[in-house]
């Protein structure tokens, strides 16, 4: 269909199929991205939850990181959930793992604890409203600077941020059927 947007979902590791399903329910086409050339044909990119160290290393190994950074600077909207938000961060609390470093945020990994501390909770997101958040070994942003806008906090911790065409969520909207965050991202595209 002409004019229909295509959203890429980074499919190196993690919950990329859930994001594709949620995006398709919003009426857009999706494309799994595993190689640099697949980044040319998309209007926006979702970096899913998964293991950030795994995704970061694979991104580097297959040459996706440099192309994603270039496209981001050219203005391609990118949304990272959980591991995706970690990969977007300029600074990571506990180390030097491969990342994109595009957003002016410092994140702490596994910040709410291990899996036994993973939780679901109700959030109130600025400009979006009440949202159920699923947090799985989730990070939060310890510090933000520049023109980063804090969109949601949970127990005073920053769990959603936006910086222009870049969006980060510490929780997993792809695991609930709400669709509101996916629609919000699509409006940015």
């Amino acid at each position: 269909m002409a004019g229909k947007k295509t959203i890429g979902v980074l499919a190196l590791q993690g919950a990329f199929i859930e994001h594709e399903a949620a995006l398709q329910r919003c009426g857009v086409q999706t494309r799994q991205v595993r190689r640099p050339q697949e980044l040319g044909e998309i209007d926006g990119l979702v970096i899913p939850g998964g293991e950030s160290t795994t995704i970061g290393k694979l991104m580097q190994k297959f040459g996706l990181d440099t192309v994603i950074k270039k496209k981001a600077i050219e203005g391609m909207p990118i949304w990272g959930t959980c591991a995706g938000m970690i990969l977007l961060a300029q600074e990571i609390d506990d180390g030097d793992q491969p990342r994109l470093g595009l957003m002016d945020i410092r994140v702490k990994r596994n910040a709410f604890g291990r899996q036994v501390d993973s939780f679901e909770a109700d959030l109130d997101i600025e400009g979006i409203g009440p949202t159920r958040g699923v947090f799985i070994r989730a990070p939060y942003a310890e510090r933000v600077w520049g023109n980063v806008q804090v969109m949601a906090r949970y127990q005073d911790k920053i769990v959603m941020v936006q910086q222009g065409h870049l969006l980060g969520t510490a929780f997993h909207p792809e695991l609930t059927n709400q669709g509101n965050i996916h629609r919000y991202f699509l409006e940015m595209v």
Partner: protein
């Protein structure tokens, strides 16, 4: 309201592991090699399945000190195994803060009739299955993730292939049935009716399904992914091989690019010796780990 340990939080972690490789490790050093190679999680053990098989005797939960040292060494999720039915080993593992428990046939079963009631725990469980009925019984008991049993510690992928094909065949079968035939299908498979209905509707297992038991090469991993598995467990295949670091990286890359033969050829080059394999027919039936579980 904040809720911990819900079924969606448990299955959520399994979903985050998809497309990844979970590696058996026995020391903090091995755990770091696995993390550095791109493992999405590690399984903390005292001995890998090949050594458990060789040692014989009773295989039990690992020493908590071994598990804790591995948990301290890496930032990725850490899993550990308890014996089938041994809910106290599971309680101990949960108290250590382990991220996932494998109620595993690799260890000697502690109960010859019953599995653990896994809904009673905050920590998620993964269990092995050889067919759809077994998978759905484990899910009904609370497993948040399923894996093929394969035949652990053999470096022989044939049993894992048999098990994923069996599960897929049965999913295709129940998906093709009219509603009135699903109860008898459930009866025949000894599976909970509601989960048979859900599986028929979803045309897949209601939880994430990984491959395990005999995966030794990048091509083995890609084979299991092309057959429809969501991710890969590698037990003895990495640290019983000639060059664990290189093999680990290659299996991670093969699990991502499972549909790309050019990448698979590239990562399969110069990996050194694979683990020595065992022909399944040479293992006496009573020594086959896959027969454990009810």
């Amino acid at each position: 309201m904040e809720q911990k340990g819900t079924f969606s939080v448990k299955t959520g972690l399994a979903q985050m592991l998809k497309g990844g490789v979970i590696m058996d490790v026995t020391t903090p050093e091995q755990a770091k090699i696995a993390e550095e190679a791109g493992a999405c999680a590690v399984m903390a053990l005292e001995r890998v399945p090949a050594d458990i098989r060789a040692a014989g005797g009773i295989a039990r939960m690992a020493d908590p000190s071994v598990i804790e040292r591995i948990m301290e060494a890496v930032s990725i999720p850490v899993m550990a195994k308890c014996r089938i039915g041994h809910f106290v080993e599971a309680q101990i593992l949960e108290s250590l803060g382990i991220d996932f428990i494998d109620e595993s046939e690799v260890l000697t079963p502690a109960d010859d009739k019953y599995h653990i009631s896994k809904h009673n725990f905050k920590v998620p469980f993964v269990c092995g299955a050889r067919n759809l009925g077994e998978a759905l019984r484990r899910i009904r008991e609370g497993a948040a993730m399923i894996r093929t049993k394969g035949e652990p510690g053999t470096g022989n992928v044939v049993e894992a292939v048999r098990h994923i094909r069996q599960v897929n065949d049965e999913i295709r079968w129940v998906s093709s049935l009219p509603e009135e035939e699903l109860m008898s299908a459930a009866k025949e498979m000894q599976a909970p009716y509601e989960l048979v209905v859900e599986t028929a509707k979803l045309k897949r297992l209601p939880v994430v399904n990984f491959a395990a038991g005999g995966i030794a090469t990048p091509a083995d991993a890609a084979l299991m992914m092309q057959l429809g598995c969501d991710g890969i467990f590698v037990g003895s295949g990495i640290f019983k091989s000639g060059d664990p670091k290189k093999r680990a990286q290659a299996i991670v890359a093969a699990t991502t690019h499972y549909n790309d033969p050019a990448v698979l050829a590239e990562v399969s080059r110069d990996l050194g010796e694979a683990m020595v394999g065992i022909d399944i027919s040479t293992i006496r039936p009573e020594e086959r780990m896959q027969e454990r579980g009810w």
